[in-house]
């Protein structure tokens, strides 16, 4: 009561002193600037992420479609087997002159004067160099086809494919581009008649590597990556979990355990290329495993992934509360039973999440695989992990080094496939975490 000054006493209330200038405006401006830097930094990162994905998808989505040409092909006996020896000597069919069949077919389809050599050459250049092999395989598989006329869909040449997809600037002078005006005219003619069309590019997922972009595919790389992932999963998961269990639950606290611990943390930060050197000198030079084999790649990636899995597993084991352990031990379980019957199942979601993330990392790894020779040109699918093979990221690297324009499209397509796999794996990890995460 006493500190309220009554207005009737006549004491004048002094006006509040003028505010001391403490630079509040300036300070608030600095505050706003500081926040703006933060927003700018985050947007910078996100914008680049967006540009990166945009470039890859923009350049690559067309790779999932491929231009093909359907032609009525005369499997004339005169060209394939002029002296009629195929019954006794089947090798005639393999060595026959199949490009001629294709040439005749396209010349006929386009109504070109067969005596004009440049025209005929340009016309047959519109078909992929892999088309004769396709015809050969057809004939070898079913020799009764000889003498008949069959509609066959063959791949168009990569340049025609690019032109058809609108990737070649037709306003450029004819001499400076890979398709001339005549070919573009024929292309449009074939397109109007329905012979030339775009179809889903199954070859991208099935074929092996090829020096011709239109026939090059990821088949070998996909199988190679599958082997790599299987080997890493089969080796790294059990070894990683066993190592973490020992370190977390059994290891006495002594210098050796400390050493192992520091070691694992350091191994996680060793550059991946060093693992490649290790694989080269130990698995290939010393043990004598074959080069380019996915087994060696799998072993190298296993060593590389182990620290990641161990670190994740130890975190998951540590998150299981001590009360669970105490309860199990109290009921008479041995320490081993406590770990394997109670702690491990509860930590499993965390372990699996860590494993999937480690696997995703291994799937995208390129450098160590280059050193152990998985950068080989492999056209035939490997049947065992000891056969030469490549992997998805290595295929991306090889195609990125190719000079031909059409390979840029293939490379981006391969990257999209790789990123899709990574997205699926990471989504799986996130879902697993959401579904089974337990807060104690």
């Amino acid at each position: 009561m006493t500190d309220i000054v009554s207005p009737t006493t006549g004491v004048t209330i002094s006006k509040a002193p003028a505010r001391r200038d403490i630079g509040i405006k300036r300070r608030y401006a600095a505050e706003r600037r500081f926040q703006a830097y933060g927003i700018a930094a985050i947007s910078f990162g996100l914008v680049f992420l967006f540009i990166l994905l945009w470039t890859v998808i923009g350049k690559g989505y067309t790779a999932f479609q491929q231009t093909a040409i359907t032609l009525p092909i005369e499997f004339s006996e005169k060209t394939i087997d002029p002296s009629n020896k195929r019954a006794t000597d089947p090798s005639v069919l393999v060595a026959a002159n199949y490009p001629v069949l294709l040439r005749d077919a396209i010349v006929k389809q386009l109504n070109i004067n067969a005596s004009s050599k440049p025209d005929v050459r340009d016309a047959s250049a519109m078909l992929s160099k892999s088309a004769p092999i396709q015809l050969r395989d057809m004939v070898v598989a079913d020799p009764s086809i000889i003498g008949k006329s069959v509609n066959v869909t063959v791949l168009a040449d990569a340049n025609v494919d690019s032109a058809n997809k609108g990737q070649i600037d037709l306003s450029v002078d004819e001499k400076n581009r890979k398709v001339n005006d005549k070919q573009v005219g024929w292309m449009n003619e074939l397109k109007a008649s329905g012979a030339l069309h775009k179809q889903f590019n199954t070859g991208l997922f099935v074929n092996g590597n090829s020096s011709r972009p239109e026939a090059a595919g990821l088949g070998v790389a996909l199988i190679g990556s599958l082997y790599l992932m299987l080997i890493v999963l089969v080796l790294a998961l059990p070894i990683g979990v066993a190592a973490s269990i020992y370190l977390e639950e059994f290891a006495p606290k002594n210098r050796l355990t400390d050493l192992i611990e520091v070691n694992i943390n350091n191994l996680a930060a060793v550059p991946s290329i060093v693992y490649g050197l290790l694989g080269l000198s130990v698995f290939i030079n010393f043990v004598g495993l074959p080069r380019s084999a996915s087994l060696v790649g799998g072993l190298v990636l296993t060593l590389m992934t182990l620290p990641t899995i161990i670190i994740a597993t130890r975190a998951a084991l540590r998150a299981v509360p001590p009360s669970i352990r105490a309860a199990a031990l109290g009921l008479g379980a041995s320490k081993m039973q406590m770990v394997f019957h109670h702690v491990l199942p509860l930590a499993m979601p965390g372990i699996l999440t860590g494993t999937i993330i480690g696997l995703a990392h291994a799937l995208g790894e390129t450098a160590p695989l280059l050193l152990i020779g998985m950068v080989a040109f492999v056209a035939n699918a490997p049947t065992t992990p000891l056969d030469p093979s490549t992997a998805l990221p290595v295929q991306v690297y090889m195609w990125a080094n190719e000079a031909e324009r059409a390979f840029v499209e293939r490379t981006s397509g391969a990257i999209i496939v790789l990123l899709l796999f990574l997205i699926v794996m990471n989504m799986g990890a996130i879902l697993l975490r959401r579904r089974f995460e337990r807060r104690w």
Partner: protein, 493 residues
């Protein structure tokens, strides 16, 4: 019998031992499981371990040792004039013997008889079977190959017999030991513990493997090129030793190291400000909603494989910088020549910097959020604005941790391979213009080791010397960073 079939049989024997021992233990207990020391499954596991483990160890040892013994024995049987040849010649001869031996196993008895004593026919016959020979085998080789085949055959038979005998004996030994008071669980658990210990020692073995393998190969390199020339040489110019000259060219580390550090520096100049500000904003300002969206999106950058960044640098960033610089120089001087190369320190540095943003931001985010609330509240209570609090209180408190995080990021920048392989160029030179290409240690490791390899020339061995340099640098950075981070973490715990 092939190894995989032996393994399969071992698994079957193990499973059988498990089942028999388990049922035997149950029978001993007579339905009262309390009469047994351990649960029946442990008796089964005990028997299975005895059946499989010793046999498996013997199998592994046998498989790794026997080829060496057989080789020594076959080579000791070579004629005296062959033994007088140089070691390299003998190695070649032996590898041919091995090829012939492999081919002989594919021939039928009749075919073997027809080609015996006729090397030319043998060569033709073998290449028909898909076993090409480098040259015509000499007569002694056929005998040696036959000897090799007999010995391998004997060894394989003996191995199969020994392994199976061990497996069965082990199973019977374990079965005999089963008694109600037998402490099966403790034995099984001891084996499991050893297994766990073995698994965790793989981490150490990997490190030892890395160090030893690289040291031994690098030692062979330093036997040819003096270490001082490597570590202090300023010229990188490896050459294939021609017929006349014995010079291997120069292997100077300095230009590569400078390139690595320069590109790393540019990358850090991009990654550190962006990553730090992003982390500060996420930790101090962002609403939970924004944080929930932006943080995972930024971390996507860390999940993208580096080869994708390399491709991005190669087809997008590099050409963009080249054309952009041409435009700039056109506006300034009128001549549209680019002053930035498509492959340059700048291209590689920027793209690598983008890749490193999430590492900087997520590591620093953790460290900034670990600074105790009380420090912030104290500063805010004294009237400081939030940015002042961050600049004057939070960041100084978090500084050691952030430095540690930056060191870890730097070690990643130094060890990065695919971006620089595609974007930095291969020219090893010392210069300071960031618009020109330079090369790095990792690029040269890849360059020297792809293609046909010959493990005797310094051309390939130098990669291991580079590798061990890289390993040491990153190891030191990491150990120091871990030390700082750990020390800092203890302060607030």
């Amino acid at each position: 019998m092939s190894t995989s079939i032996i393994l399969l049989c071992l698994v079957v024997i193990g499973a059988a031992a498990y089942l028999v021992a388990r049922s035997r233990a149950s029978a001993l207990a007579g339905g009262r499981s309390s009469a047994l020391h351990s649960r029946p499954a442990y008796y089964g596991a005990y028997a299975a371990i005895w059946a499989v483990l010793p046999a498996l160890i013997v199998l592994c040892v046998w498989l790794s040792v026997s080829p060496g013994i057989i080789q020594t024995s076959v080579r000791s049987g070579f004629p005296a004039d062959v033994k007088a040849q140089a070691a390299v010649e003998q190695d070649l001869g032996y590898s041919m013997v091995a090829t012939v031996a492999r081919g002989l196993t594919m021939l039928s008895a009749d075919e073997t008889a027809t080609v015996a004593g006729d090397p030319a026919a043998l060569q033709a016959k073998l290449s028909e079977k898909g076993v090409p020979l480098a040259g015509q085998p000499q007569p002694y080789m056929l005998d040696a190959a036959k000897k090799l085949n007999t010995m391998s055959m004997t060894s394989r038979h003996a191995m199969t017999a020994v392994v199976f005998a061990l497996a069965v004996a082990g199973a019977f030994y374990a079965l005999r030991a089963i008694a109600p008071r037998f402490r099966a669980r403790n034995r099984v658990e001891r084996v499991m513990l050893w297994g766990l210990l073995l698994a965790s020692s793989i981490a150490i073995l990997t490190t030892i493997g890395i160090v030893l393998s690289m040291l031994s190969e690098a030692a062979r390199f330093f036997a040819v090129v003096p270490a001082a020339d490597f570590f202090f040489g300023t010229v990188w110019d490896p050459r294939f030793a021609g017929a006349g000259s014995s010079s291997f060219g120069q292997f100077g580390l300095i230009p590569l190291l400078l390139g690595t550090l320069y590109i790393g520096l540019v990358a850090m100049l991009v990654a550190v400000p962006v990553g730090l500000f992003a982390a500060i904003y996420m930790a101090e300002y962002a609403s939970p909603k924004l944080r929930g969206v932006a943080k995972p999106l930024l971390e996507v950058l860390a999940g993208i494989p580096t080869i994708v960044y390399g491709f991005f640098a190669l087809v997008t960033v590099g050409p963009f910088l080249r054309d952009f610089s041409a435009q700039i120089s056109g506006l300034l001087s009128g001549s549209y020549t680019n002053f930035i190369q498509a492959q340059s320190v700048l291209t590689a540095g920027i793209v690598m910097g983008i890749m490193l943003i999430p590492y900087v931001s997520s590591l620093s985010d953790d460290i900034i959020t670990a600074v105790p609330r009380a420090l912030r509240d104290g500063s805010l209570g004294l009237g400081a604005t939030r940015s002042e609090t961050i600049k004057k209180v939070v960041l100084p408190a978090a500084l050691p941790g952030i430095v540690g995080a930056l060191l870890m990021t730097a070690s990643r920048a130094i060890g990065e391979t695919m971006i620089v392989v595609l974007a930095a160029g291969v020219a090893a030179r010392i210069q300071i213009n960031p618009f020109e290409p330079m090369t790095t240690v990792t690029v040269k490791i890849v360059n020297q080791l792809t293609g046909d390899l010959e493990f005797t020339s310094p051309q390939t061995l130098v990669a291991f010397a580079l590798g061990i340099t890289l390993f040491c640098i990153t190891l030191c950075l990491n150990i120091y960073a871990l030390y700082i981070v750990r020390k800092y973490r203890e302060q607030y715990e």
